[in-house]
């Protein structure tokens, strides 16, 4: 029978909340299904510019035959669609996110408000320095505080994320060795390292040597010494490591590396645990990358943007990517003698108290309230032996601004409190979950803990991933699953400092409940079916890879093909 309906009656409705989780579990149509030819949302300036025909502007051979087909929707349907998508998304603002190694702490709203200031957000990156003094000052001041936090001599802001920071650091390592006419081929990485480490090593043209962890979950110093020789360019370490454990032998590791002329690289993924407690520079690290989107609370955006500045010791400064924001005049003001822990050739010249902004009104001696002489100027400078450029422009500036705001708001006292509360939460949780889940490296942790679901798997057939999916039903994001690789069926839990004791307790209860349930009738079965309360149930990952559908057009083509 012929369909008597109008054409629009057969299409999905844009303004119908068919998918909002509070209302139903229906699919959300794609924007392409909501598209209706000739419908528009756009609205542009009235410019009064002569309407030259396209053919007069661009020679025919360069023209596209038809414009690219994009969705054609009303603004109302566009807003409904993306708002509904956002309601199908878990986030820190929705609830706790104890995703190990990712430091999913609360992202302060004031930092977003700062990044939205027109005087920061609307600056063209090619503007001459006279138009960007605020930005340059921000970069220089952020560099100074990051030097103090890490115990290093200088920082490049260019790397856009942690992995970009790793690659930058490895290129600096290469430049350093080449400057000594030393050709080295290998970089040592512990078996507990993040996957980005070996991938970055390969990109930097080095070979990976993996060193096994010892029975305590730390770098095995003896085995490390066995693989260390003058072919080793460097060692990449995370400290605390991915088991949440502090590498207690770090001083000896640094000495062993330096004895063979290798450099020590610090992966900053876990810096949150040691803010204001100890510093990579004091441990002997030569290169440090930071994940501002972890430690310094810039929001992760569903997968990015991040920022991965790289801090280096004095001897590597001349190799940093350029151009670098620099202060053209020295700050005036009282030079504070270096504190005992900062004494040393690498750090004495940097980050005195008076060179940093303070909130107090202090207009004396011709200074602004922030310790700067009115005439302070900032500009660009490229280090003499710079490795080159690691970003299209200067780095992820708006992420850097957020991180700097976070650091200033916390201050020295607040940053130490960050580490204290992060470690307190993790150790409380560890104590609470002991005996409930196996802990292969059972000793006090720093900011995160790793438990194993291996016993649940052997007894009940319930894997770490099942526990993770059950936790989603309990209203928590799941921990990191199956990492680090050296723990059988790992669950890596990082509560972060911004979760209250009540929330951490609720997480512990949920994990206890799950462990108890899987031992009961049907409990294991239910766990393997989880999650059932989420916008979709367990997703078929194998199908996604086997029958790849990365775009709407390929889906249409496959459906047409049958």
């Amino acid at each position: 029978m012929r369909d008597q309906r109008s054409s629009f009656e057969r299409a999905p409705a844009g303004g119908r909340a068919s998918s909002a989780p509070v209302l139903s579990k229906g699919d959300e149509p794609t924007i392409f299904e909501l598209s209706v030819p000739s419908r528009t949302s756009w609205s542009l300036r009235n410019t009064n510019i002569p309407e030259y025909p396209l053919e007069e502007l661009v020679p025919a051979e360069h023209l596209r035959s038809t414009p690219p087909d994009l969705a054609e929707v009303s603004e109302r349907d566009l807003v409904a669609h993306f708002t509904r998508l956002s309601q199908r998304q878990y986030s820190v603002d929705t609830g706790a996110y104890p995703l190990g190694s990712c430091t999913m702490k609360y992202n302060p709203k004031v930092c977003d408000a700062i990044a939205a200031l027109s005087g920061l957000a609307d600056v063209h990156p090619a503007s001459p320095p006279s138009c960007t003094q605020g930005w340059l000052r921000l970069f220089v001041e952020l560099e100074e505080v990051l030097c103090e936090i890490t115990g290093m001599a200088a920082v490049t802001m260019q790397p856009a994320a942690g992995a970009a920071g790793e690659l930058t650091g490895l290129l600096l390592m290469r430049a350093w060795h080449e400057s000594l006419s030393s050709r080295r081929h290998r970089v040592i990485i512990p078996d507990s390292a993040h996957g980005t480490n070996p991938a970055s090593v390969a990109l930097a043209g080095y070979e990976v040597t993996t060193v096994a962890s010892d029975s305590r979950g730390c770098v095995d110093l003896e085995r490390l010494r066995e693989v260390l020789d003058d072919d080793v360019a460097g060692i990449m370490l995370t400290n605390p490591n991915t088991l949440g454990l502090f590498e207690e032998d770090i001083i000896d590791i640094a000495a062993a590396a330096h004895d063979v002329g290798a450099l020590l690289y610090y992966d900053g993924a876990n810096l949150n645990a040691i803010l204001g407690v100890t510093r990579p520079g004091d441990m002997g690290f030569d290169i440090v990358h930071l994940n501002l989107h972890k430690t310094f609370a810039t929001p992760h955006g569903g997968g990015g943007p991040g920022a991965g500045p790289v801090a280096v010791s004095e001897r590597l400064v001349e190799f940093l990517p350029g151009p670098r924001p620099v202060r053209l005049l020295e700050p005036v003001g009282r030079q504070v003698a270096p504190l005992p822990h900062t004494a040393g050739p690498d750090s004495a010249a940097l980050a005195t108290r008076d060179s940093l902004p303070s909130a107090g009104p202090d207009g004396t001696n011709g200074q602004t309230s922030h310790g700067y002489r009115e005439g302070d100027r900032f500009g660009w400078s490229t280090p003499e032996r710079s490795i080159g450029r690691m970003h299209s422009w200067h780095g992820n500036a708006l992420v850097l601004a957020r991180a700097y705001a976070y650091i200033l708001a916390n201050g020295a006292d607040g940053l130490r409190r960050v580490a204290d509360m992060a470690v307190l939460n993790a150790n409380w949780l560890r104590k609470r979950l002991r005996g409930v889940y196996d802990m292969p490296y059972d000793r006090p942790v720093m900011h995160e803990l790793v438990v194993s679901a291996a016993r649940l798997r052997k007894l009940y057939g319930v894997k770490a991933v099942d526990v993770a999916k059950r936790l989603l039903e309990e209203g928590f994001h799941s921990p990191t699953v199956a990492f680090p690789l050296i723990v059988d069926d790992a669950l890596m839990i990082e509560p972060t400092e911004t979760e209250s004791p009540q929330t951490v307790a609720a997480l512990a209860e949920a994990m206890e409940r799950i462990a108890a349930e899987v031992a009961e009738d049907n409990g294991a079965h239910d766990a393997r079916l989880a999650p059932r309360t989420t916008p979709v149930g367990r997703v078929d990952e194998a199908l996604a890879a086997r029958k790849l559908v990365p775009t709407w057009d390929l889906r249409e083509r496959q459906q047409t093909a049958g």
Binding site: T132, G304, H391
Partner: protein
């Protein structure tokens, strides 16, 4: 101090007691005493939100932003296109902003579906079959494309047009230098006065003794705004069995032949113009699309459509075996964190523009650029630095250098363009000025700009 850690002193004591330690310091006993900071960090103590905001307002006041202080005629890889309230509102939904990478697909359908739609739109813009879920910026996309071509062909030579954004080229060379055996970058200069790639140098040298390239890289439009002879670039790539990598622009893509239809197997681009503010250069958005044959070499994340246990439509990151966390040193790239939020914003922006809107802003930009170019060329002593056809951006020479013009025009309230300084200018184009005109520039602004320009170029 401002602290976002909520613990009360009583709660801290209770937790310490439960753990079985007597102080917070004791939690750090694994840290050797010699490494502990005796007196804490030497930075000021924390401040409250109002003081914090006041300080950053002061920093912001020390800049000259577009809109408030300057009318923007600068491009060079960062453009002042319209960003409507709806894009800002949807891209700042905190569920998107504060989520992590969608590792748990069941609670990440929002980000995953938005990325699926983004991938579809980028693939359509590029005229290729598949796009990834974003890279850092244009430079990063270029680097990854070259890595893909080198891996796919097993060759090492890469011919890169000097018309590719100089900062991207510098990033490529910085990284390629570390792998000089597998990555040999040859820069192919631009034709003097014309501004398009002078492939003839490569066409004649391509004898049996020189190694065939893994890839030929060309930007269209190029850094000087010029439209390249894509047929020639494509023929050269075909003749050598090389990948054709095209750096394209997502706005001019509304009217210009797509990379895919020009023969590209990989397209890269800077996506900032799709809904992101100028942001002093970041975070931006690396666009990456390629043909299906390369799908297993794509860098970074790809979202695929699939089903859940109840056969409902669902989305998930797929072909994960390419990625660093699985394959480690054999991964196709080291990228982990990317620019997802910018990609979601770009998807919103592209849907807001729609088919007609993207073509419209490309056309309006081209009209504005034509009007501006004619006005500037009417000024004595001003001529085109490159005569090839352009769309939104063009390069001029004047009796004074681009740097001087930019400097002089600041006081008149214009960011006059991107000066072609020695550091960034393609060979032979030093001293010029690159002028970009978007759909946001009005006739009145351009008239005032031309008048100020005439004053600025007088010696």
């Amino acid at each position: 101090m401002t602290s976002w850690a909520p613990h009360t002193p009583a709660e801290i004591d209770e937790m310490l007691a439960f753990i079985g330690v007597s102080s917070l310091d004791e939690l750090f006993r694994a840290v050797p005493a010699s490494l502990r900071l005796a007196t804490g960090l030497s930075i000021p103590d924390g401040i409250g939100e109002p003081d914090l905001m006041a300080y950053f307002q002061e920093l912001a006041a020390a800049n000259a932003p577009i809109g408030r202080d300057l009318v923007c005629f600068a491009g060079g890889g960062a453009y002042d296109h319209e960003v409507p309230a709806v894009t800002k509102a949807l891209a700042s939904r905190s569920e998107f902003v504060t989520a992590y990478t969608p590792y748990q697909a069941e609670v990440a359908q929002g980000v995953l579906q938005a990325l699926f739609e983004y991938q579809t739109m980028v693939a359509r813009l590029a005229g290729l079959e598949v796009a990834n879920a974003s890279l850092y910026d244009g430079a990063h996309a270029l680097v990854e494309a070259v890595n893909l071509a080198v891996a796919a062909t097993g060759r090492s030579a890469v011919w890169v047009s000097e018309g590719v954004n100089p900062r991207w080229r510098e990033n490529l060379i910085t990284i390629a230098r570390a792998r000089s055996e597998s990555h040999v970058i040859h820069i192919v200069p631009l034709e003097q006065g014309v501004g398009v790639t002078s492939w003839s140098t490569r066409e004649s040298s391509a004898d049996a003794t020189s190694e065939p390239p893994a890839a030929i890289v060309v930007a269209n439009p190029n850094f000087l705004g010029c439209l390249e002879d894509m047929e020639r670039a494509s023929a050269l790539a075909s003749a050598h069995g090389a990948e054709l990598i095209v750096a394209f622009d997502p706005i001019t893509a509304g009217i210009i032949e797509s990379p895919g239809s020009a023969g590209a197997s990989v397209a890269v681009g800077e996506g900032q113009a799709l809904g992101a503010p100028l942001s002093f250069g970041g975070p931006y958005l690396g666009l990456f699309a390629c043909s299906m044959e390369h799908v297993r070499r794509i860098p970074g994340r790809i979202v695929g459509q699939t089903v859940d246990v109840d056969s409902r439509t669902a989305y998930v990151t797929t072909l994960r075996a390419r990625e660093q966390d699985i394959r480690r040193e054999r991964a196709s790239s080291n990228v982990c964190t990317n620019e997802t939020l910018l990609a979601i914003g770009a998807a919103v922006q592209m849907a807001w523009l729609g088919t007609s809107g993207l073509a419209e802003i490309a056309l309006r930009s081209a009209r504005g650029a034509r009007y501006c170019r004619e006005a500037l060329l009417g000024i004595p002593g001003v001529r085109l630095a490159a005569t090839a056809p352009t769309v939104r951006e063009f390069a001029v020479c004047a009796p004074v250098s681009g740097e001087v013009i930019v400097d002089r025009m600041l006081d008149e309230g214009f960011l006059a363009g991107v000066a072609l300084t020695r550091e960034i200018a393609p060979q032979g184009f030093e001293g010029g000025l690159l002028v970009a005109v978007t759909e946001r520039r009005t006739r009145a602004e351009i008239d005032a700009f031309a008048a100020a320009f005439e004053k600025a170029v007088s010696l």
